[in-house]
Subunit: 281 residues, 2 copies
C-alpha cells in the first residue's frame, strides 16, 4: 500500500455537500460506501440532535468530527462568556453524536483591534476554560490553524506550529490540532511540525489549493488533485506521526456545492483513492 | 521619539504610484520632501538606465532598493540560465542606480509541478550563482518572503524565518532578507525571526492588510493605518534588530493608483508620520 490511506478511512465532511440536510448527506455516504462523516452544528440542529445521532448510527457511519467551536475573540466580556457557553454546548453535542473531536476555528482580531497577542491570549484562556468539559465528556478540542489570509477576520492561529504550541499548554486527552492541507501546505516547517505534533493530531482534513482565489476567499478550495498541493509527503508525514483516524474531505466551493451531490461524492472517492493512495481493504 | 522612525527615512516605492514614469515619480518625491525612492526595473528601462540614475541623483534622492530580481523556478534549464542572466543585469542596474539592495521575488511552483522542495532548491542554487556578482558590485540580494497566499504562483518562500534560513547559507555582504509587513504580519514567530535576522535585514517595506481581498489578490494592499496591521511592534522589532535604512511604502492597489499622485504622496507622508512615529528631524 506504499503509505497510502485506505478508503476505509475516508470521511465526507458535510461542508462539501453544503446544500444537503443531514439525512441526505448520510444517505449519500451510504450510497458511495463512505464509512464516516464530518458533521456541522447547523445541520445537526436543523435535524434535531437526538434524531441526527440516531440517523448516523442507524446508517452505520462513524462521525469523524463535529464542526465547529471557537470564535473566542471578543473584547466584550459578556460576548466571551456567551461563546464559552456555546462551546460547552458543542462539546456536549459532539459527545452525543459519538465523535471525540470538536474542530475549533479560534477567531480573528476583535473588531477595531490590531493586537494579535491579545487575541491569542483570549483563545488560550477560552480553551483552558473548556478543558474540564472536554475531559469529562471525552471530546478533544482540535485547534485548527487557518491559512494566514484568514488571520485578520477568522483565525489568528496561522500555522500548525503555532496551533501545536498552544495545544501543548493543555492535557493531550483534551486538546489537539487539526491538520488541514488547504491551510498549511505552503509551510516549509510543515513536515517537522507534523512530526512534533505526533498523537496531538486529532483530525486530518484534505482539499486542494486552486487559483484564482474567488471573490469570497472562503470558497476557493478544490477537489483533491485539482490544484497545487503535493498530498503524498503531507499524508506520509501525518501517518508517520501516528495519526490513524478518519481523513475528512472538506471542500468549500460554490461550484462543488452546485454540482449534483452524487457526482461530488464519486469525485471525492475517486480522488481519495488515486491521490491519497486509498484502496478497499 | 519613542522608537518611531523619522520621515528622513521614508522612501516611496515606485509601485505605489504605478502610473507615473520615473521622472514624474522623482519630482513627486521632491515636492513632498520624501528623501528616498524605491525603483522598478521596467520604469528605469523606459527612462534609460543612465538617464534614470542621473535624474535621481540630480534630485538628491537616495535609491532605497531596486525591484526586482528573482523568478528563479523553471523546469527548463535554458529558462533558468536566462533568468540568471537577467538577474545579473539587475544587479548591475542596482549598482549604477546607486542602491545596494536588489529585492528578490523568488518564484512559485514551476508550471505543472507540486514539489515545493524542488522549487526551493532551484532558488537556493540561483542565489548561490549570483553571490559573486552581488559581492563584486556591492549589491545585496534581498530575499522577500511573500504572503503564503502567493506560494503557488509567485514565491514559495512564505515566511521570514524561511527567507532567513536561506539567506544564512550565503555571505552577509551578498544576501539578506526583506521584511514587508503585508506579507509577514500574521506570523506568531515574527518578532523572534526579526531579532534573529538582525543585520541581515536589507529592506523594510510597509503597507497594510485590508479586506476584502480584491479579485486580483496582488492589488489588495492598503495605506498604512487603513487595515489590520499593528505597525508599532513590528517597527520596534526591526529597529531593535539594527535596521537603520530607509523604509519603503509600497502599495499595490488599483484605487491608490487611480488617485491623484499628490494625494497619494501626501497620505503616505501623513500616515508614515502618525503610524510609524515619524517626524522631521
Amino acid at each position: 500500500m506504499n503509505g497510502g490511506i485506505g478508503l476505509d478511512r475516508l470521511s465526507l465532511n458535510q461542508a462539501t455537500v453544503k446544500r444537503l440536510g443531514l439525512r441526505e448527506a448520510v444517505e449519500l455516504c451510504v450510497r458511495h460506501d463512505i464509512p464516516a462523516i464530518g458533521l456541522w452544528r447547523d445541520r445537526v440542529a436543523e435535524a434535531g440532535l437526538a434524531e441526527a445521532a440516531a440517523t448516523v448510527r442507524a446508517a452505520g457511519l462513524r462521525v469523524s468530527s463535529l464542526c465547529r467551536g471557537g470564535f473566542f475573540t471578543h473584547v466584550d466580556a459578556d460576548a466571551r462568556r456567551a461563546v464559552l457557553a456555546d462551546n460547552r454546548a458543542a462539546i456536549g453535542e459532539a459527545a452525543e453524536l459519538g465523535t471525540d473531536t470538536l474542530v475549533l476555528v479560534s477567531g480573528g482580531l476583535p473588531p477595531g483591534q490590531r493586537d494579535l497577542g491579545l487575541a491569542r491570549r483570549m483563545i488560550a484562556d477560552a480553551i483552558g476554560s473548556l478543558v474540564p468539559d472536554a475531559q469529562r465528556l471525552g471530546v478533544r478540542l482540535g485547534i485548527e490553524a487557518l491559512h494566514p489570509m484568514f488571520c485578520a477576520d477568522r483565525c489568528v492561529i496561522s500555522s500548525l506550529g503555532e496551533a501545536l504550541d498552544l495545544a501543548l499548554e493543555f492535557p493531550a486527552d483534551a486538546v489537539g490540532v487539526v491538520v488541514d492541507t488547504y491551510h498549511v501546505w505552503w509551510d516549509a516547517r510543515l513536515a517537522a511540525e507534523i512530526a512534533r505534533a505526533g498523537r496531538r493530531i486529532v483530525s486530518y482534513q484534505v482539499c486542494d489549493w486552486v487559483l484564482p482565489l474567488p471573490a469570497d476567499t472562503l470558497l476557493g478550495r478544490g477537489h483533491v488533485g485539482d490544484g497545487f498541493i503535493d498530498f503524498g509527503p503531507i499524508t506520509a508525514a501525518v501517518t508517520a506521526a501516528g495519526y490513524d483516524g478518519d481523513v475528512e474531505v472538506e471542500i468549500f466551493n460554490a461550484a462543488v456545492w452546485d454540482a449534483p451531490p452524487d457526482v461530488t461524492a464519486a469525485t471525492v472517492v475517486e480522488r481519495f483513492a488515486t491521490v491519497l493512495g486509498g484502496f478497499r481493504r
